[in-house]
Symmetry: D2
Subunit: 157 residues, 4 copies
């Protein structure tokens, strides 16, 4: 499976796939990937997922006044099943599975081929100037559309 190796990854059936190469910086002296590095990979996956939907984060943050919106991680449950190693290519899969008024729940996985290395449930909240705020309507619509059955069927063809 070479899914997600395009620069920025790819959307497929309502899921986003981003391939990532493991470098020295990601590993630790135990010989495998340092556990906190997976959070960096997951964040890259979320950023590219949003970008693929037209929601670049620097632009969202730079919007005027009440329209400015940033995303912060509020909660994460993460299982580490198997380690990745130097030089390997892993894939981050990102799928929103609940779009609330002020937060998004995402299911994310780190895969190596068919092996699930890491499984994560991530709640991301919208903030403006450091305070919680509602998701802008068009952001919510774009996210909901990205996960609708229709969209998945279209993507499927």
């Amino acid at each position: 499976m070479r899914r997600g190796r395009d620069f920025g990854g790819e959307l497929h059936e309502g899921r986003h796939f981003l391939a990532i190469r493991i470098y020295y910086e990601d590993t630790d002296f135990s010989g495998v990937v340092y556990h906190a590095s997976y959070l960096r990979f997951l964040e890259r996956g979320r950023t590219e997922f949003l970008r693929a939907l037209g929601l670049g984060q620097r632009l969202l943050l730079a919007r005027e006044g009440a329209d400015a919106v940033g995303f912060v991680v509020r909660r994460m449950t993460i299982d580490f099943f198997k380690p990745a190693r130097m030089d390997e290519i892993i894939t981050v899969e990102t799928r929103p599975h609940e779009i609330g008024g002020a937060s998004i729940e995402l299911a994310q996985r780190v895969l190596r081929g068919d092996d699930v290395l890491v499984d994560a449930e991530v709640r991301v909240a919208a903030v403006a100037n450091g305070r919680p705020r509602r998701l802008p309507t068009e952001v919510r619509q774009i996210l909901r559309h990205s996960t609708s059955p229709v969209n998945r069927q279209v993507a499927d063809r």
Copy 2:
């Protein structure tokens, strides 16, 4: 509260406290600490907690054959309540609350004064040569002793 500012932190009533300064490297362009940096802080807390009990990780890993033991994070549930900022001093609190045959459950918090910034539940498993193994008996005893009521009373004085 200046708890934990000794080099390596301090044990107090069965809990370990480690003070940490926030530097440039820990922050991101949103202006506050990058969410994955807290995992690095929590790992420092666990490492110093184990060291305070006489369980240095490089030594444990270097032991002969069946005695070699490393720790890996298997599962983490983490809530991010409030952000830390550049130049602040935060404290990592570490407390084991379940010592199993092959894994340890730790409750950890990141505090700024009395504010709880981050709350984490962490399961750490013992491994040798990348495979699960039982915790060596004396490691288990040391960990259990660290959390016993007697020990807490003694530490209390």
Copy 3:
């Protein structure tokens, strides 16, 4: 210029180009990329340059006995001209310009379009078991060939 956006980058006229996206993890609270992050980018560039020549680092390190070889950075002179920002795509250019008996001098740059953001001169030495060693003959030949005028002409077509 979209050079280097293939997964693993590309060799062109004796130079290697690797495109890299800037993520949250790379920035700091000053709003731009943290200065040490550029060293991570440069290391990715060197790793992909070696891989493009068939010199994967995990394989080199895993070779038997006297053939094992790792690379360590011995010296670096680095100029930081302009900062990169969140969401931008930068390119790491890597070019060996001196292949010695036990070390390699590389000229590296971080570019954003035609802008030179960072310029670095890097000396990398060969080691085995933590001790200096000579570059294996075939590694030296591959590196020298990669920078020869003939090779550059061929690459040029």
Copy 4:
């Protein structure tokens, strides 16, 4: 030598010493400290050096209008002599040796006991809103005073 183990390190004879513990996050799969981690250590040393002189960076950046000042690294020459390892305590030594109108040259070293692991020459420039600016007069005076022979004698006692 236990120099610099106070929280924030210590000034001694015009030099600043900061002790740092090596954690998992600082190492890579080669078994020793990742080369870019030393830049993080050097930055911590500079930050604590400035703080010891009363020049906290978040405060400097938050000053009003023309008084706001940030520091950015412009140039670094760095020699990596020997590696540090997990669990070790190293010391970052920081000494300004040229205070210019808009930049500072610092000599920094990473020490393990008497061993010099890393030697660095760092040029740091003053900026405001991303543009070069002159060092505020009182900042320049404080830095110059910190390195004057008189101050070194006083510190010597």
